[in-house]
Subunit: 221 residues, 2 copies
């Protein structure tokens, strides 16, 4: 599948590398694709050199050339960037894995939107033609793309979205990554639940002194 990964940070790199391994074509979107390779101090350069099949291009071009888009941008800029490339997004599936973290008040970060709205909803509302599916924001990026690195993948991930077919497409990708426990929370409004779990995740990170954890939902049979 042709998949755009928007964002070249740790999260974008984790997804791009894993998608290449799984045999997908990856179009990595960035603000200025020239800047990366020209700047030798940039960690992105060595990563791009190590992953020659990943194509680095503008956000707009990556969206245009792909069938599905992964939003691995900083949550604070996600709506603005995606809105600016609306034409290229068309009616494609946008997998939103970002979190609306606000670091301006110190650590741990607060949420810039919560309780009566969510970043997932904001994206869906700004881009009414695309199908936003919120997922994976509840775990560290290394677990996102390879859940079996933790407890043989015996832990849970969530999906939220209005379009059932889009959710099914995303669930198939999650299964390719190795996810076995996937809970469909419901429509995109339920992204509030997944995003508002972040404050607990952040405090668990402090308490457990690792990011290598997740929750498993245990239900009485």
């Amino acid at each position: 599948m042709k998949i755009a990964v928007l964002g070249t940070g740790m999260v974008g790199q984790a997804h791009a590398a894993r998608l290449i391994d799984l045999g997908h074509a990856v179009y990595m979107g960035t603000r200025n694709p020239k800047k990366g390779p020209a700047d030798s101090a940039n960690q992105l350069n060595s990563w791009i050199e190590a992953h020659p099949s990943v194509k680095l291009m503008t956000f707009a071009e990556a969206a245009q050339r792909s069938e599905m888009i992964i939003n691995a941008l900083n949550g604070e800029i996600a709506v603005t960037v995606l809105k600016s490339i609306e034409a290229g997004l068309g009616d494609k599936v946008v997998i939103d894995i970002s979190n609306p973290l606000d670091f301006s008040k110190g650590m741990p970060p607060r949420l810039s939107v919560s309780n009566n709205d969510s970043l997932g909803e904001q994206l869906q509302s700004a881009l009414p033609k695309v199908s936003v599916v919120k997922t994976l924001n509840t775990v560290n990026c290394l677990i996102q793309v390879e859940p079996k690195r933790l407890a043989a993948a015996d832990h849970t991930v969530f999906v939220s979205g209005n379009n059932m077919a889009a959710k099914e497409t995303v669930i198939r990708l999650l299964q390719e990554y190795g996810w076995r426990r996937i809970i469909d929370l419901g429509d995109i409004e339920t992204a509030r639940g997944a995003e508002m779990y972040m404050p607990l995740w952040l405090r668990l990170m402090d308490s457990l002194k690792t990011v290598d954890f997740n929750l498993k939902i245990v239900v009485n049979e």
Copy 2:
């Protein structure tokens, strides 16, 4: 131990009954202790008749007579009620198991405080002498008092609080209830994490069509 349970709803009843079974003395606090037994339409009456060792009294008297207090009140009234009985609370341990749920905007409820504050913190700040320990608010009351009804108690509960000795006392009570996986999140500020998990819990309840579930935190060893 002499334990006050403030609140006579389903949550208060679950704790009172379980504490009696465990051999504790239970003082159940309510707004008007006369009202219950006089009103035969009240479900509380038959419950009180079935649990003769539970003593029903005013909030103030329950707090005064006990060594430890469980706040099983509706989150919306918790600060007001507890502040009104501050003298009786003294410097005792207050176990806050309530959630700041706001049903005024429809279902699922929103949180009346979140992100930059929490109900746990509001209680601690309104009652500087007591030691507030936030716990158990992340599970249904039947699981709260008997975790082994779900997956042989192989799932997680959290504690948050400023006073380490108070947390240790509460952890011992949690262990009496049957909890085996208890994570200390840190000081009372971390109650934000436990309370902001509620929106996810509410959507899981909708999706799973049961309240008989919990999360287990899975960590890479």
